[in-house]
């Protein structure tokens, strides 16, 4: 038991560490996007007397300001926007038997995890799926589709809610919200700068580097061109790389959340059969957009990358293969049955 608790703290510590790393990488990246651009301008602005004309790092200042504002707003508004984009409605006053049961199940899992009860949301979508979001355990929300409520029995629902509660308790939701905010900023910036470059700005920089650089006779001009090329490559690749990293983060956490759910419910078999039912549902979850896909318990887009194993699937899938998850859970259920079976 105390071993489980230690694992929890390790996992939380790892998530905190990773959040800090992401912020660090993000700052580094923006320093490069901002002040790297300034360096290009600086080295490009040497005249034939070896005098630099570009001395105030405007790009750096502007990029830093934009990044700070965008990151701040998408961090604070992120969870709300996720819920809104999925069309999730908060269940404040449960009326039907199923709704009451859902709220009860969420309460049960909150007690098992020793956390305050998260807000409960329902997404009106016939495909079974679920996700969790928020800034931390105190402000978390759990959303399930109406299809999930219909398809699963009480114990299976408990397994799925336990899985989402695990994301909350392990601080996965905080990390994912942070990552989503940072990825969003990077996409916004790289789009914005790209547009400026394609418009008038590009010609300006080109003329600067090409024209004046050549006149200054190599040295600084060459540095400017090399920096410019590197700068452009990072700008183009940044959105892709950050997205891949975000996917890798969410994939690793699914196995762990499955295990934590089993730890909370002490019923891994129920989650296994829930996953099987979710997997068997034919349609993709229409209300889950690409932006929320990595939050869901099962890939809502039904992309083939999540069915396979191997390098490519590891790169592009947001979720580990369902078959593998089910096999692991069934293994746990078997171990448990063996351990609690009456001794002959």
């Amino acid at each position: 038991m105390s071993g489980d608790a230690l694992n929890l703290f390790e996992q939380q510590a790892r998530n905190r560490r990773q959040t800090a790393w992401w912020i660090f990488l993000f700052v580094l990246f923006f320093a490069w996007i901002g002040f790297g651009g300034d360096a290009v301008m600086y080295f490009g602005s040497f005249d034939k007397y070896g005098q630099a004309h570009y001395t105030v790092p405007w790009i750096g200042i502007v990029v830093t300001a934009i990044a700070a504002i965008v990151a701040r707003t998408s961090w604070t508004r992120g969870p709300k926007r996720v819920l809104w984009s999925a069309g999730a409605v908060e269940l404040t006053n449960p009326q039907t038997f199923e709704e009451k049961q859902l709220v009860n199940v969420v309460e049960e899992m909150a007690i098992a995890a020793g956390l305050p009860r998260p807000k409960v949301y329902v997404v009106n979508d016939p495909d079974p799926n679920a996700f969790a979001t928020g800034h931390g355990p105190e402000t978390a929300s759990i959303a399930v589709t109406s299809g999930l409520i219909q398809a699963l029995n009480r114990e299976e629902l408990q397994g799925v809610v336990g899985h989402e509660m695990a994301h909350v308790r392990n601080l996965d939701v905080r990390l994912m919200t942070m990552v989503a905010a940072l990825v969003g900023v990077i996409v916004v910036l790289s789009d914005g700068i790209g547009r400026v470059m394609r418009g008038g700005g590009g010609r300006g920089v080109g003329a600067l580097v090409g024209g004046r650089g050549r006149r200054s006779g190599g040295g600084a001009g060459m540095i400017a061109i090399v920096l410019l090329v590197l700068w452009l490559i990072t700008l183009i690749l940044a959105p892709l790389i950050t997205r891949l990293m975000a996917m890798a983060i969410s994939r690793k956490r699914e196995f762990l959340a499955d295990a934590t759910s089993a730890e909370l419910t002490r019923n891994p078999g129920a989650l296994a059969s829930a996953l099987q039912k979710i997997e068997a549902a034919p349609a993709p979850t229409a209300s889950m957009k690409r932006g929320t896909a990595h939050l869901c318990i099962a890939d809502p887009l039904g992309s083939s990358a999540n069915l396979k194993e191997g390098r490519l699937a590891d790169l592009f899938g947001t979720h580990p293969p369902m078959a593998k998850r089910i096999t692991i859970l069934r293994g746990m259920a078997f171990q448990q049955a063996k351990a609690t079976a009456p001794q002959p």
Binding site: F97, K100, Q101, I111, A112, G114, A151, N153, R154
Partner: protein, 191 residues
């Protein structure tokens, strides 16, 4: 040399303070986890009269089962005190309730009543909450106990007035089996 000693003393003091505070935090977590169980137990005590009142009319022939639930409830409510006593009394109540639920399965008009279904869901959810709160309490208390006994925290355990917390054990195998009865009330999806 003197500054070295000073640093060593400061480090040791900080270390002791950290261990002491860690123990106090665990102690409070344990107390809090126990209170969580208490909240759910009270809730169950409050729900039972409702259930009994609702099913009494339809279950003329099951007076004994109903009486067992009522008796177990009043016994659980009167019995204050230690973990072991509470665990025993509440365990008996769980058993009596489980039997009542099994018997209720044989009354189709009860099963189809929305009111009864809601009450039954409330009660089995409360039952689950008790089980999960107990699970959490046992985990936290085990953590607390381990920390008290471990070297070097055991040195400050006395200072923090730490005492081994009693775990909530489920005593006999039969009792443990009762909640296993399938009470999944999920209706078949209407086509």
């Amino acid at each position: 040399m003197e500054w070295f000693l000073l640093i060593a003393v400061v480090v040791v003091v900080f270390w002791l303070v950290a261990m002491y505070n860690g123990l106090i935090a665990l102690k409070n977590q344990t107390i809090n986890a126990w209170k969580q169980i208490d909240v759910q137990l009270k809730r169950r005590h409050d729900l039972i009269p409702n259930l009994v009142g609702t099913v009494k009319g339809s279950m003329e022939f099951e007076k004994e089962t109903l009486q067992a639930v009522i008796d177990a409830r009043s016994k659980a409510m009167s019995g204050g005190g230690g973990v072991k006593e509470t665990a025993a009394a509440e365990g008996a109540l769980s058993g009596a309730l489980g039997k009542l639920f099994v018997v209720m399965e044989q009354y189709p008009d009860l099963k189809s009543s929305q009111n009864v279904r809601d009450l039954q869901e409330e009660l089995s959810s409360t039952e689950n909450k008790i089980a999960f709160a107990r699970q959490l309490y046992n985990d936290v208390a085990t953590n607390y106990n381990t920390r008290q006994q471990q070297f070097p925290t055991n040195f400050v355990a006395g200072l923090a007035k730490a005492q081994i917390a009693e775990l909530w054990e489920i005593e006999d195998q039969a009792e443990r089996a009762v909640p296993q009865v399938d009470l999944s009330l999920k209706p078949k999806p209407q086509a």
